[in-house]
Symmetry: C2
DNA sequence: GTCTATAAGGTGATAGAC
DNA sequence: GTCTATCACCTTATAGAC
């Protein structure tokens, strides 16, 4: 079942993501992607219509996971415990393949507003921030939620000044603690 | 005194920075910079040897300000009050022209490690983080400091879901409160 | 599904006149 | 200091054979 003769399409996504994370979307060329796969550029065009499509396809996957998370949150009562669980799940999402994606996605978010993909990404994150910020339209609550997500994202980048041993697990756990603190209601219960 | 016939060089820096912030370094072409200034590409090359040089020149200015801030901090006793003041000063730095720079500088930080400029930027920020993290080599303290800086940076980007009225001042103030909380020693004094 | 070959256009950069 | 003209290169993307 689902036994295609090749898995080239997925390999392209994988290698492309790897390269996007390494040097950013613009600096990653189709030529280099093709070379790493030992195929030609033209072969890529059999699987994807454009370079943008490769990026989009891999981002869409992530947005689907985000969707599921937001949907789940909306089915729960809106309290702090749920928000903390949302952070835990989001942190778990930023792992392996997805970590590479998250690493340069903010680049895409910051990019030209008229870019359709950029708007889509922003919209999805806005939904997540709504959940984390809780009710009310307070500037600071929303910003705290944004910062909490940024903290989790920051953890995926390694700090060159630190032992590699600390990396990954420690950093990820620390980030989760920080993020959790950030979404506490204004006067935290003692 | 210092009355040059033209200020083209500074105008180039200004327009370039504007464009870098708009579309990122890679997507900003020399052609477009030249067009906005109503000069030709070749004219740019009279003032700067390369495109990288334009970016470097404008970043160096910022790094000098960072240096001064770190130097000042080192002359003070290493306590929480000083760290809070460092955050206030850093927040003030992220204003106007410099805000545009900060907006896409993380792009440069994330970029290829072998890039000389990227390493320089990272080194300067590492010094600032050392100050904010306080003594000791705890993963979480350093991460908190990183997140605090990220919070201030995030404030410079506008949240499309919010009234423009809230913008700027409110957001900046909220970010400073969040950042300040983040650099408090582990058990905050009551 | 993958190839060779090539189109079409933009890029950073240089030479040399004015 | 700024121009015109041009270079060499690399990019995404397409056409058509195998």
């Amino acid at each position: 079942m689902d036994q295609r003769r090749t898995d080239t399409r997925e390999q392209i996504q994988s290698v492309a993501l790897e390269l996007f994370a390494e040097k950013g979307y613009d600096r990653a060329s189709l030529r280099e992607i093709a070379e790493r796969l030992h195929v030609t550029k033209a072969a890529l065009y059999y699987h994807f219509r454009t370079k943008d499509d490769i990026l989009a396809s891999v981002i869409e996957d992530f947005l689907l996971q985000l969707d599921a998370l937001v949907k789940w949150a909306h089915e729960q009562p809106s309290d702090v415990d749920v928000r903390e669980e949302v952070l835990r799940r989001y942190s778990a999402l930023l792992t392996g393949r997805t970590a590479q994606l998250a690493r340069f996605m903010r680049e895409g978010m910051a990019k030209i507003p008229e870019l359709a993909l950029g708007m889509k990404i922003r919209a999805h994150f806005a939904a997540l921030i709504d959940v984390l910020a809780g009710p009310g339209e307070h500037t600071e609550d929303r910003l705290r939620a944004q910062v909490a997500l940024a903290a989790l994202q920051l953890a995926t980048l390694s700090d060159p000044d630190l032992e590699p041993a600390d990396d990954e697990t420690d950093r990820r756990a620390a980030a989760l603690r920080i993020a959790t603190d950030l979404v506490q209601p204004s006067p935290p219960a003692p």
